[in-house]
């Protein structure tokens, strides 16, 4: 077992980090990058350099998502023996102010000479920088950018999957090791049999985070018990729901955690190869996972002899090319095999006949990311979080008409009200809450009267929605529900693979009925037909996409029937007016 080497590497990194008096973390996840985090990071870097202070005064660290994406770019400053401070909406100019506020400026102006090799900027620039830094320090107005970490947005969250995001540098294996990375894997390889691993996961009652909520331990056990020579692990990173980016964040910001979970899974089921199937729209995630795989190979965490044991496992990346249906496991398998991502009938389930007809575990990214924590802290610890039937935490991409939007991880069982009004900070512009949409195009809309329902698999299902992969969109009272339902139906029409009739044609016809109603040409009969058709598509479609495609319509029909009725009434009034 050469895990000791890895531990040493981690310790060394920890020591290195400990030498710095302060560390400035700059979020470089997609959301912050689109808000300009790239320039902010450069500015922070250059400013620190321009300070010309002692080397260990400050380090600028690139990290992943810090959660509050609506206030991006985010920068966090951690100083020894002080509480961390989080800044939001940082610009490159503010970054300079931030550095001059926290980092002492060295007294070495005179030594600046032409051709100083250590500098990444020209001495001229540097002088300019120093001058503006000094100026900036005087008129600092950064206080308004400080975001209180006591804010319910943070305090209500429980971090398991996102434990290291925003803290570790996703490009550095060492940083992950410094934060206890791969300890779970080492523990599993050294002390546990595959059966014990499966049982541990089973006891933790972890359920699939891709949406359906199948007990993960059970799935693993199915595959473990198959006697096949080849077995595979697929990590599903084809996050197709519009408005959901949990998996992307985890892959981008903590790729090794995903990898670690995957390797543990492979060991538990006896797989020797695995694929991470990642959306083509996520280039950063692809690159970071690829780098993580390369680094892991170099450190013998992947390969013929994982951590020096005789367990062999290789992982590779497969890139999706824009097909929502590939989230369905059999479609995903076809896609990994280089075919059209069309689902096939189950059974046989992938656990008996999956990739290349070999037994295959397919878990979504978030599920895999839970695994290392379960191993490290024990099944009991995990099972202590959450509700009776839904254990652990769930990551949500909180979006829509809210004051605070971003990525949150909450314990199962938290109420929607807490999420909307405490974490989310309520609806802006004094508008009223209308609905919470969970599960994207497969989910439904939950109205105000159910705001106190706990968020877990069962109660969401009962409300006609689903947990889904974690998209959570809050809509205010300006949104018309038939329009909103139509938006999702358009999505499903576009993403239907075309294999089974109810989904291929049914969704189109549902869309036509919605169009008709929205255009004011509908009647009560149309609403009835809509309902009927939705039921047919729901019960007769081949795969999850078709089976859940009518959910947005059905749930809005259930809770906002009046809006549909109004459309019909308007139509009738208009008609009589014409007559």
């Amino acid at each position: 077992m050469n895990f000791n080497n890895l531990e040493k590497i981690g310790q060394k990194e920890l020591d290195r980090q400990g030498k710095y008096k302060r560390r400035i973390f700059c979020c470089t996840s997609t959301a912050c990058l689109s808000a300009g985090a790239g320039q902010v990071h450069t500015s922070l870097d250059q400013s620190v350099e321009a300070c010309r202070c002692d080397e260990h005064e400050a380090e600028v660290v690139k990290t992943g998502c810090m959660g509050l994406c609506s206030s991006g770019p985010l920068v966090r400053v951690e100083e020894k023996e002080k509480d961390p401070i989080l800044y939001g909406n940082i610009t490159s100019e503010l970054a300079q102010q931030l550095v001059s506020r926290h980092v002492p400026i060295g007294e070495i102006d005179d030594e600046l000479e032409e051709g100083d090799q250590d500098l990444s900027v020209t001495p001229h620039d540097m002088l300019h920088y120093r001058a503006s830094l000094k100026k900036a320090g005087k008129k600092s107005d950064l206080d308004k950018n400080i975001i209180s970490l006591d804010h319910p947005f943070f305090s209500k969250q429980v971090k398991v999957v996102l434990n290291e995001t925003g803290i570790v540098n996703p490009d550095k294996l060492e940083d992950y090791l410094a934060h206890g990375g791969y300890q779970a894997l080492a523990h599993v390889l050294e002390n546990m049999t595959p059966e014990e691993v499966c049982d541990e996961i089973l006891e933790s009652e972890l359920r699939g985070r891709g949406g359906a909520g199948f007990p993960t331990g059970m799935k693993w056990n199915f595959v473990r018990k198959e006697g096949a020579e080849d077995k595979f692990v697929i990590v599903n990173g084809d996050e197709g729901d519009p408005g959901a980016y949990m998996d992307r964040t985890v892959m981008e910001d903590d790729p090794h955690r995903v990898l670690e979970g995957m390797i543990i899974c492979a060991y538990a089921v006896g797989a020797s190869a695995g694929y991470l199937y990642i959306r083509g729209e996520y280039p950063i995630a692809i690159n970071r996972i690829r780098k993580a795989i390369r680094d892991a190979r170099r450190r013998k965490i992947l390969g013929k002899s994982v951590l020096g044991t005789d367990f062999m496992f290789n992982a590779d990346v497969r890139i999706g090319a824009g097909a929502f249906v590939c989230g369905e496991e059999t479609a995903l398998i076809h896609s990994v095999e280089g075919k059209r991502g069309m689902p096939r009938m189950r059974p046989p389930y992938p656990s008996t006949s999956g990739l290349w007809e070999a037994p295959t575990v397919i878990n979504n990214v978030e599920t895999m990311a839970n695994v290392p924590s379960i191993i490290n802290n024990g099944a009991d610890w995990y099972a202590s979080i959450g509700t009776e039937k839904s254990k652990g935490t769930k990551v949500f991409a909180l979006a829509g008409h809210l004051r605070n939007t971003g990525l949150i991880e909450v314990p199962m069982g938290i109420t929607l009200r807490e999420i909307v009004y405490e974490i989310g900070g309520g609806i802006p512009e004094n508008r009223g809450f209308k609905a919470a949409q969970t599960g994207g195009p497969s989910g439904g809309c939950i109205p105000e009267e159910y705001l106190d329902s706990p968020v877990d698999y069962e109660s969401l299902n009962k409300l006609g929605s689903i947990m889904g992969s974690g998209g959570l969109v809050i809509i205010d009272d300006t949104t018309k529900m038939p329009d909103f339902a139509n938006y999702f139906m358009e999505f499903c029409v576009d993403e239907s693979c075309g294999k089974c009739l109810p989904c291929r044609v049914g969704t189109v016809q549902i869309g036509k009925l919605l169009d008709k109603l929205i255009a004011g040409d509908g009647s009560q009969e149309d609403i009835e037909q809509l309902e009927n058709l939705c039921e047919t598509v729901k019960t007769t479609s081949l795969c999850g996409l078709g089976q859940s495609a009518p959910n947005p319509v059905l749930s809005t029909l259930k809770y906002f029937r009046n809006e549909y009725d109004e459309l019909v009434q308007q139509a009738q009034t208009a008609d009589s007016g014409l007559n």
């Binding site: 075309g498 089974c500 291929r504 044609v505 016809q509 037909q529 047919t536 007769t540 479609s541």
Partner: protein, 378 residues
């Protein structure tokens, strides 16, 4: 043996049998469109759904393997309603012009629409793929009738191995396509027409058949193909004594439902204008016999060197009696003069056993020679 209950009936079947197969074997009919007994399971048409005890949603019976103790329900209000709704959706993008459709009478969609008493769709009618391709003399592809059951794709891939077509695009725009939607001739298509054979609708229709008659007006006769030695059984559909198209039937002992391009499309030679319709005598022989007044000599040029030789140029028609008498006389003269071994007989690998038998008997018993061969080696 596996035992299960279908519609309350206890059924025993071999392990690995699907519920659909077991039901059909026990005379329980389940509607189906994409299923074909010779092809892999698709499960796309959703028509053969049944209820299984313990399953939350109805499941297609075509891909459901029988398991011990399974309880299946193939008919109930809910299932009928779903199936009806499915047919309703099918015809929301399939023209119901059965009155002029060649497939009318054998179209499966028509059959089910009739059985579920659906005269028109309750939805808004919209054809998803208004593509019409008549790029070859074998068959046309009229995509508006295509229900995307995928049987053609599967037969092309799994049986013929040509892989000329596949699904292209997706969702409502999904259609069956050759690469780049090019003409079939530019693809790997071998024009075996097995896709027509398995097509349940009028999406694929033999050119020879178009507008030539309604299915119920046609006579159907079966015989063995006259081409290669495989001995496929072919069913010919005829109208007024003329072949309209050829197909095979599942009961064909050798070929089952499948044929090759020659067997399925190569029957029109029989009515080619060049067919011999009366005995013909070479002009020089006819002159010798006084049957024609013009003398003539067999040209030295090989018939192979003539681009389109006409038999009338070298031969004249005569009646059967004259012809048979002449043949008998000429052969007997030779035998009398040079002995039986001066005669050679070439029997035919394309004639029947009876004909070859008579032929060899004539040579051995009549003429008395074993100079008797056919092109077994050629």
């Amino acid at each position: 043996m596996v035992e299960l209950t279908i519609d309350g009936k206890k059924i025993q079947t071999n392990p690995g049998t699907t519920v659909l197969e077991a039901a059909l074997a026990n005379n329980i009919d389940i509607p189906r469109l994409c299923h074909h007994p010779e092809l892999s399971v698709s499960g796309g048409c959703r028509l053969c759904i049944v209820n299984v005890d313990g399953y939350s949603n109805p499941t297609p019976s075509c891909g459901l393997t029988c398991q011990d103790g399974m309880a299946i329900e193939t008919q109930n209000e809910e299932l009928l309603k779903s199936r009806r709704e499915i047919i309703d959706l099918f015809i929301s993008e399939h023209p119901l012009d059965c009155v002029t459709c060649d497939k009318s009478g054998t179209c499966l969609l028509q059959k089910y629409a009739y059985e579920f008493d659906i005269t028109k769709t309750s939805h808004e009618f919209e054809i998803s793929k208004p593509i019409y391709q008549d790029d070859n003399p074998f068959f046309i592809r009229d995509h508006q009738y295509c229900i995307l059951c995928g049987r053609c794709v599967r037969v092309c891939d799994e049986v013929v191995g040509a892989k000329a077509i596949d699904f292209a695009g997706r969702g409502f725009e999904c259609h069956i396509a050759t690469p780049f939607d090019d003409p079939l001739k530019d693809s790997t298509c071998v024009f075996c027409g097995n896709c027509i054979q398995v097509c349940p609708t009028a999406a694929l229709t033999p050119v020879s058949r178009m507008g030539k008659g309604r299915e119920w007006e046609l006579d159907r006769l079966k015989t063995i193909c006259g081409y290669c030695g495989v001995g496929c059984q072919i069913e010919y559909a005829l109208k007024d004594g003329k072949i309209i198209y050829a197909q095979s039937t599942p009961d064909a002992p050798v070929n089952g439902e499948f044929l090759c391009t020659k067997g399925r499309f190569g029957w029109d030679f029989a009515t080619a204008p060049e067919r011999l319709t009366s005995p013909m005598l070479r002009r020089d022989v006819a002159y010798e016999l006084g049957l024609t007044s013009e003398n003539w000599e067999l040209p030295q040029k090989s018939p192979l060197a003539v681009r389109k030789p006409k038999v009338e140029d070298s031969h004249i028609p005569i009646d059967w009696d004259t012809a048979l008498d002449l043949a008998a006389r000429k052969l007997s003269e030779n035998v009398k003069e040079y002995g039986p071994d001066s005669i050679m007989g070439l029997a035919s690998a394309r004639c029947t056993n009876e004909e070859n038998y008579i032929f060899q008997k004539f040579f051995r018993l009549g003429i008395g020679t074993n100079n008797l061969d056919h092109c077994a080696r050629l």
